[in-house]
């Protein structure tokens, strides 16, 4: 035999390492599956929580965009003495002249008037409803439609006729329009002409009973001052219009005017993370920890059971590092298996829920990549001690103590 002067140590080829590290998985499938389950559940929870919150956020933003981000509302603020200020009756006309303003509609709070099903209901049971005078083209501007019946028109605006906001109809217990359906408003019967769908951008309308300006003045002694002006501006002019609104609406006391952009408030709301997210992420993290313990436990048992195999490999020329690498890779693979299943389950549940809600499916990269990375790290950490144990095993004890 030739005595080679240098003994070259051989590193395992990747294909061989892959084969070696899957022995445990292939020979004990059920056990491998169960031990990876904890990690799978943890990753699934995290991916689903992040995926669902992203998808719902995307859905909400999409909804907001469809409602339009170019709606601005002008409402009366307070005077220095903290009493409600009044918007001048000229405000809508002035606002309409600002360049870039496309539509102007108004509502005005009819003070002293409340709405009831009938005259016998105690006057304190107002259901927190307000009676508002509304301009006739209000609906497209606040991006809502009729759910039932029809809105006010030039004729009905002069008569005792009311249209109910979505919440108002619910609180009054009216879900259909019957001929002759009426309400007791400010000591007077008003016929119900229709019910609105929710107005997401103008939620005060939801809890309102809307009547025409002329009718309000004629039957309820309304002074005709608008309380809220709804303005649609050209998309590219929204900021410019926004800046001019207060001064235009009330040139004498611009600081007694509140100007807001309802869509931006909704966007901020959509951005806010639900407190539940934190809870579920925490539960996911606990599951990951349990999963790590599971993998470590299985690997330690596996190393004990596979002592003869380890001893044999050492006899066949495996170094300690070969053995260590084999078992460490097996643990990493177990972790990755759990991680991949977890990401799959998380994505699937997100997809199903998003589908029922008609949202686009959004899985943030950090959710799935983080899930995979976390499971890889967990596998490595959990496998470290068992792998070191396997490598430390003496080949003679491993082979002759069976």
């Amino acid at each position: 035999m030739t005595a080679e002067a240098t003994l070259t140590r051989k590193r395992l080829q990747l294909s061989d390492l892959t084969r070696l590290s899957t022995i445990g998985l292939r020979t004990r499938k059920l056990r491998a599956g169960l031990s990876a389950l904890g990690i799978a559940i943890g990753v699934a929870a995290i991916v689903a929580v992040l995926g669902l919150s992203s998808s719902s956020q995307a859905g909400l933003l999409n909804e907001i965009n469809q409602l339009g981000t170019n709606l601005l509302t002008v409402s009366n603020g307070q005077t220095l003495t903290a009493t409600p200020a009044e918007l001048p009756t000229t405000a809508p006309g002035m606002i309409g002249r600002i360049p870039g303003v496309q539509q102007v509609q108004t509502t005005g709070a009819v003070s002293g008037a409340d709405a009831y099903r009938n005259p016998y209901i105690p006057s304190v049971d107002t259901n927190a409803l307000t009676v508002q005078a509304a301009s006739l083209d209000l609906l497209p501007v606040v991006a809502t439609r009729m759910a039932r019946g029809s809105f006010l028109n030039a004729a009905t605006a002069r008569e005792p006729v009311a249209v109910l906001g979505a919440a108002a109809a619910q609180r009054l217990g009216i879900d259909r329009i019957y001929p002759g359906e009426r309400l007791w408003v400010g000591g007077q019967w008003f016929y119900v002409a229709g019910i609105l769908k929710p107005a997401v951008l103008a939620s005060t309308i939801d809890s309102s009973v809307l009547i025409g300006y002329p009718a309000a003045e004629k039957y309820l002694g309304f002074d005709g001052h608008p309380a809220t002006v709804y303005v649609r501006a050209r998309t590219d002019r929204v900021d410019a219009v926004d800046n001019l609104l207060a001064a235009t609406a009330n040139p004498e006391n611009p600081n007694q005017v509140n100007v807001s952009q309802p869509s931006s408030a909704l966007v901020a709301q959509a951005d806010a993370k639900s407190a539940l997210n934190g809870l579920f992420l925490g539960l996911g993290a606990v599951a990951l920890l349990v999963g790590a313990v599971g993998v470590a436990n299985i690997m330690i048992i596996s190393v004990l059971e596979r002592r003869p195999e380890i001893g044999l490999r050492r006899a066949l020329g495996a170094t300690r590092s070969h053995i260590r690498t084999q078992f460490l890779s097996e643990a990493v693979l177990l972790g990755l298996l759990g991680g991949a299943v977890g990401v799959g389950a998380g994505v699937l549940s997100t997809a199903i829920y998003a589908h029922t809600k008609n949202w686009a499916i959004v899985i943030p990269t950090e959710a799935w990549a983080g899930g995979i990375a976390a499971s890889l790290i967990i596998g490595a950490v959990a496998g470290l001690v068992p792998a070191l144990r396997a490598a430390r095993l003496s080949p003679t004890q491993a082979l002759w103590s069976v």
Partner: protein
């Protein structure tokens, strides 16, 4: 018994015509020098007390002794699976004591084959891959490992069963697979610890016949046994008692002519194993 280097003549100067000299002075493939091993305990167990033994190329050595005499310990040290308390182990002249663990592991991967009483086959893998794994840590690519495994399986008469699982084989066949795995790397020496210990009498005989055949085609094999009858069948018999060698029939010098036949895994022999080794070796009792 120790072959000290200064007594070793240059190989070229050996008179090939006189076999009795040739083998006695050949550089040993494995030699141990004043080997002792004690295991910790109260009192410590002296498993080996100064063993000297040189095994030449092509020898078939039976090491025999009663239970507890230190046979397995000696095999573990000769096989570099453990380190001696004192003394030296040389494989092909390389002193293991001076080598790092990883280099010793590579030495095992390339120079030493093991056969165990319990076979130690992987049940999830085919016969072929069990044998091919004998080359895994020698850095041989998979295709070559498998090719050479087929060759080694032909040598033990099991090439036909290469796609079977070990669980589908009889005990004797399993030990043949283990022997093929030990041979696949063409090691300098094969060390077998009670290779027939888990087999019935007749199957054990067929394994011994296989070992004898392998010896006759050039393999160097050390068989450890407690059974004198088995040791008698070896060309050299070493008796061990209480960690010391008490008798040694000496290097086998009688039959060097047969050692001139091609090495078992030399390429020309591979494709005609039946002609070279006298037919299939698959005659175990069922």
């Amino acid at each position: 018994m120790t072959s000290t280097p200064q007594h070793l003549p240059d190989r070229s100067s050996v008179d090939a015509g006189d076999g009795s000299v040739t083998d006695a002075v050949q550089a040993p493939v494995l030699d141990v020098d004043n080997l002792t091993k004690s295991y910790p305990g109260e009192p410590p167990v002296q498993a080996l007390r100064g063993v000297n033994l040189a095994i030449g190329e092509g020898e078939l050595v039976g090491i025999v002794g009663p239970s507890g005499s230190g046979k397995t310990t000696l095999l573990q040290l000769m096989g570099t699976l453990d380190r001696p308390t004192s003394g030296h182990v040389r494989i092909g002249g390389l002193d293991v004591a001076s080598m790092a663990d990883d280099d010793v592991a590579y030495l095992r991967a390339t120079r030493i084959g093991f056969v165990f009483q319990q076979f130690f086959l992987a049940e999830h893998a085919t016969v072929l891959d069990n044998v091919a794994d004998g080359l895994l840590y020698a850095g041989v690519p998979l295709e070559q490992r498998r090719q050479r495994a087929i060759d080694a399986l032909e040598l033990v008469g099991l090439a036909q069963r290469r796609h079977a699982r070990p669980t589908q084989l009889s005990g004797g066949q399993r030990q043949r697979v283990a022997i093929a795995r030990a041979l696949v790397g063409q090691p300098a020496v094969v060390l077998a610890d009670e290779p027939t210990g888990n087999l019935d009498q007749a199957t054990g005989q067929s394994i011994l016949a296989l070992i004898d055949r392998l010896h006759r085609t050039g393999s160097t094999i050390v068989v450890i046994t407690h059974d004198h009858a088995i040791a008698e069948r070896m060309s050299r018999k070493v008796e061990i008692l209480d960690g010391q060698i008490v008798a040694d029939t000496g290097p086998d010098t009688g039959a060097d002519a047969r050692r001139r036949s091609p090495a078992p895994l030399a390429r020309p022999a591979i494709h005609a194993p039946q002609a070279a080794y006298g037919g299939p070796v698959n005659h175990e009792p069922s």
